[in-house]
Amino acid sequence: MSKASDAVETVETVAIRFAGDSGDGMQLTGTQFTQTSALAGNDLATFPDFPAEIRAPAGSLAGVSGFQLNFSSREVFTHGDAPDVLVAMNPAALRVNLPDLKPGGILIANTQAFSDKNLERAGYSENPLEDGSLSAYKVYPVDITTMTLNAIADVGLNQRAAVRSKNFFALGLVYWLFNRDLAHTERWIEAKFRAKTPEVADANLHALRAGYNYGETAELFDHSYMVRKASIPAGRYRNITGNEALGLGMLAAAELSGLELFLGSYPITPASDILHFLSKQKHLGVKTFQAEDEIAAVAAAVGAAFAGGLALTTTSGPGIALKGEAMGLAMMLELPLIVVNVQRGGPSTGLPTKTEQSDLLQALFGRNGECPMPVVAAMSPGDCFETAIEAVRIAVRHMVPVVLLSDGYLANGAEPWRVPEMSALEPIPVEFHTQVEGFQPYNRDENLARPWAVPGTPGLEHRVGGLEKQDGTGNVSYDPANHEHMIHVRQAKVDKVADFIPPTQVFGAQEGDVLVLGWGGTYGALHAGVSKLVDEGAAVGQVHLRHLNPFPKDLGDIMRRFRKVLVPELNLGQLAMLLRARYLIDVVSHTKVQGKPFKESEIVQAVRALLEGTR
C-alpha cells in the first residue's frame, strides 16, 4: 500500500464545519482556514454560528460554537447546505452538528473530550464513537487534546494554557487533509503572539505543525483532497464581513460627500462590530458616540445631522423599536440620517446571534403617523459597502432619513471582496445652503428636498421641530389643509427616490415560469438555487431587491412576465404582503423562521414544486 499522503483526490467544492465549545477557538480556526483558502485562490463563503452566551457551561449543548466555510474551484454563493467535513471538539458539538453532516461525510472527533461527563452533558448514554451509531459517516477519532499536550510539552505552559492550543492541532490536521500551506497561519501566529506571549506563539506553532504532521504520518486518512483555484474575476481581493463593509461604505460616503461622519450607537448584537470598527477610524475624522441608550444614540445622530454631519446610527431590531420616535422626528425635520438595522431573530430579545428578515415591515411602517422612509437592503457581506453608499446618496439628495437593512448572516459572514477604488466611485454632491435672500427652511428643490442650512451660517437662523409645520416657512401650523399637504409632500419625496433607481437586473430567464424574488441576505442561497435550475434549462429568473421602499418602477412589469413569482423570506412573508398590496399579484410566499439562512436545496425544491404544479 502506498503511503497515505501520496493519494490526492481533486474535488470541486467542500464545505467544512468546525464545532466546539464557545471557548474552544472555533471562530478563529475557521477564520484561519478561510484566509488560507482565499490565498489558495478558492472562491468561498463563510457562516459563523455562535451562542448568545459568551461562555455557556463547558460541554453543554447551549455552548456549542460553529464556523462553516464553503470553498470551491467554482463560484460559490452560500456557506454550503450541508458540510462535507465536520470537526467536533466534544460530544455536544457532535450532537448539535451531526444532523447537518452529509451522509458519507468526514467526521473528525476529539476523543479526549468524549468523557463520561461530557457525554452525559450532551445527552448521550453511550459513546457514539464506539456504539456504531455513526456508521453512515467516515469517522476519524483523534485524541487531539493529548497529542497537542505532547507536542507542546517542552514549551512550558501550564496544563490549562496548553490545552488551549488544541484548535491549532485540529487546524493543522485539516490543512493536511486539504493540502493547504501552513505559512499564512504561521505568520499570523507570529504577529499575534510573538511579542507579548512568546510561549503561546511557540505552543500554537508546535500544535499546528503537529496536527499537520499527524495527518502526514498517521495513515489515518487513505488520501487527501485538493480544491483547485477558482476562476474569479481578476483583481485585488480581501476577505470582508458585512459589518466591516458597512463601516467602510459609510467612511467612503463621508469622503465622497466631504461630510464629517458621526455615529451615535449603543452596543447590541449583531451590530456592535460597526461601532467597534468605526471607533478605530478616528484618523479619518470619524466621531463615534457610545450613547447611554438606543434613543440617545439616534437622537445624537439627529443632532449631528442638524449640525451638518453625515449622521449614522447602528442597531438591531430591539434598538429600532426604541428609536422609532426619533426616526419620526428626523422625517419631520427632513434631515439626512442613516439608520442601520442589522436584523436578528425576534420578537423582543429573540435570538440575538441568529439571522432573520423579520424587521422589514417595522422598517417601512414602525413609526407613529404617516412616516414614510426609504428602505434599502444589502444582499451580501461585500454588498453592504455599496448599499451604505446608496443609502447616503438617497439621504442627502432627498433630505430624508434612510433605513438600511442588514442581518446577522451578512454581518458576521465573510466573502472575498474585490477591493474597490475610491477614485472610481461617483462623488456624492452636497452643498450647504448659504444664500440668505429668499431663504426659508422648507423651500424645496426638484427632488422636494429642503435646503440644508447648518448652524454657524450667518443669516439663516431658523427653528425646526416635530410639530407639523407650514410648507416653505417651517412655522408651526395646525391648519388641516396644510397638514394633509405636508403628509402628501413627504410621501411624494420618498416616492421620488424611485426616479433614481437603475433598471432592475433579472438573472436567468427574462420571462417564463417562475421568478424568484428576494431581498437582503438570502441572495446567496437564492442565486445558487436559481443558477442550478437555469443550468438545467428551467425558465426561472431571479430578481434581488436592494430598494424596498420605494420599489423599482419596473418591478411590476418584470413580475408579470412570469407565470409565478416565488418570494422566499426568513420571516412570515413580509415582502410578499407588500408586493400583493402594491401590485395585486398573487405571489407565492416561501418562508423559514429558524434563525438560520436558506439552503440552496430548499430554494430548488420550492421552485420545482411550482414548476411541477405540486404547489
Binding site: Q35, A234, A254, E255, V302, G303, A307, G308, V454, P455
Partner: protein, 343 residues
C-alpha cells in the same frame, strides 16, 4: 476638509435683545414664569460676545420647550426628554457652536432622566436650563417628579405618593461640574446665573424655580414674594459665609453631628458659619439638602469645578489619531487587511 460654510461671522458686539426675538407670537399663558426666563436669556446673550449664528437652542417637549421658537437663533423643538441627547450630537460634532438645552421638570427628570444624567456625567458643553414648576402643564396638570408628596392633581386625586426628586441633588450625584439655581422673577440674579453657566466649560445645569400660574400657582411664592423672600432665600457666593435674613442676621453652621443648623450670627459669631466653596462636593450636596420650610432655600452656584469637556477630549482624540496617520484616506482603510491578487 471641513465642509461647513466658512463665511465671516456677524458682529457680536452690535447684538441687542431684539436680535434674539423671533416674529412668532409667544404662546405661554399670561403670567407664566417662562416669560421672565425668555427675557433674561434674550437680555444676557448679547453680552456674551458670541455671534448669533453660533447659538443653537434645543428643547424637548412641554411648555418650556416651546422656547426655541421664540429665539432667533438656530433651534430645534425635539422630542420628549431627548433634548440633551440631540444637543450632545450637535456639540460633539461642532464644538465651536454654543449649545443650550431648554427643558422642564417632567422632560428632564422623568422621561428624559437618563439623558440628563449622562450629559452631566460626560461633562459635554451643554448649557441646560431646567424650568422647574413642579407640575405637568402642557398635559394640563398631572404631578411631576418634583411635585411634593401628597400633592393632589388630576392623576393623584388622593395625593401623590411619590417622593420627589431634588434636581440639584440629582445633578450633583451625576457628577455635574456646574450646578446652579435661580428664581424666575429675580431678573438680575437670573441673568448673572446665565452668564456664569455660559462661561463654564462642560455641562452647566441651571434649575429655575418657575411659577405655573394655571396648574401650580404660588409653588415658590415664599421666594418670589418680596415680603417673604428675605426670610427664605440664601444667596450662595463663593468664599462668603452662609448668611441670610432681613438683616443678614442668620447663618448656617454645622452641629457636632455635622448636621446643618440655622443660627443667629450674633450668638455664634461669623467665624462659626459655613463658608461657601463651589469646589467642595460635600458642601454642595449638603446645601442641596437645605429644604423649605425648615431651611432657607439656597440660590446661586452650588458647584463649579473645572474638568475637560467631552467635546474637547473627543476632538483631541481625533486630532491625535490624525497626527499618527497624517493624510489618511479611506482607500487605506479599505486595504487595511490581507490582500491577495487574482490574475
Amino acid at each position: 476638509m471641513s465642509k461647513y460654510p466658512n463665511l465671516p461671522s456677524t458682529d457680536a458686539s452690535a447684538l441687542t435683545r431684539k436680535d434674539f426675538a423671533t416674529d412668532q407670537d409667544v404662546r405661554w399663558c399670561p403670567g407664566c414664569g417662562d416669560y421672565s426666563i425668555l427675557a433674561q436669556v434674550q437680555r444676557t446673550l448679547p453680552e456674551l460676545g458670541i455671534p448669533r449664528e453660533d447659538y443653537v437652542f434645543i428643547s424637548g417637549i412641554g411648555c418650556s420647550s416651546r422656547f426655541p421658537y421664540y429665539m432667533d437663533t438656530y433651534g430645534m423643538h425635539s422630542i420628549h426628554g431627548r433634548a440633551p441627547a440631540v444637543a450632545s450630537g450637535v456639540k460633539a460634532l461642532r464644538p465651536e457652536l454654543n449649545v443650550w438645552v431648554i427643558t422642564g421638570d417632567g422632560d428632564a427628570l422623568s422621561i428624559g432622566g437618563n439623558h440628563l444624567m449622562h450629559a452631566l456625567r460626560r461633562n459635554i458643553g451643554l448649557k441646560i436650563i431646567l424650568f422647574n414648576n413642579r407640575i405637568y402643564g402642557l398635559t394640563k396638570g398631572q404631578y411631576s417628579p418634583t411635585s411634593e408628596q401628597g400633592k393632589t392633581t388630576k392623576s393623584t386625586p388622593m395625593g401623590s405618593i411619590d417622593y420627589p426628586f431634588n434636581p440639584v441633588g440629582v445633578a450633583l450625584g451625576a457628577e455635574a461640574t456646574f450646578v446652579a439655581r435661580a428664581v424666575d422673577v429675580d431678573a438680575r440674579h437670573l441673568q448673572s446665573m446665565i452668564q456664569r453657566m455660559a462661561a463654564h466649560e462642560g455641562t452647566a445645569l441651571l434649575e429655575v424655580y418657575q411659577n405655573c400660574n394655571i396648574f401650580n400657582d404660588g409653588a415658590y411664592a415664599y421666594l418670589s414674594d418680596r415680603r417673604t423672600k428675605v426670610e427664605h432665600e440664601l444667596k450662595l457666593e463663593h468664599g462668603k459665609p452662609l448668611r441670610f435674613g432681613p438683616k443678614n442676621e442668620k447663618g448656617i453652621m454645622l452641629d457636632r453631628s455635622m448636621r446643618p443648623i440655622v443660627v443667629e450670627v450674633e450668638d455664634v459669631g461669623e467665624d462659626a458659619l459655613l463658608v461657601h466653596d463651589e469646589t467642595n462636593p460635600t458642601l454642595s450636596y449638603l446645601l442641596s439638602q437645605l429644604l423649605h420650610p425648615d431651611f432657607p432655600t439656597p440660590v446661586g452656584v452650588f458647584r463649579c469645578v473645572e474638568r475637560p469637556s467631552y467635546e474637547r477630549m473627543m476632538s483631541a482624540q481625533v486630532d491625535e489619531a490624525k497626527r499618527r496617520k497624517p493624510g489618511a484616506k479611506v482607500q487605506q482603510a479599505i486595504e487595511a487587511a490581507h490582500i491577495w491578487t487574482v490574475e
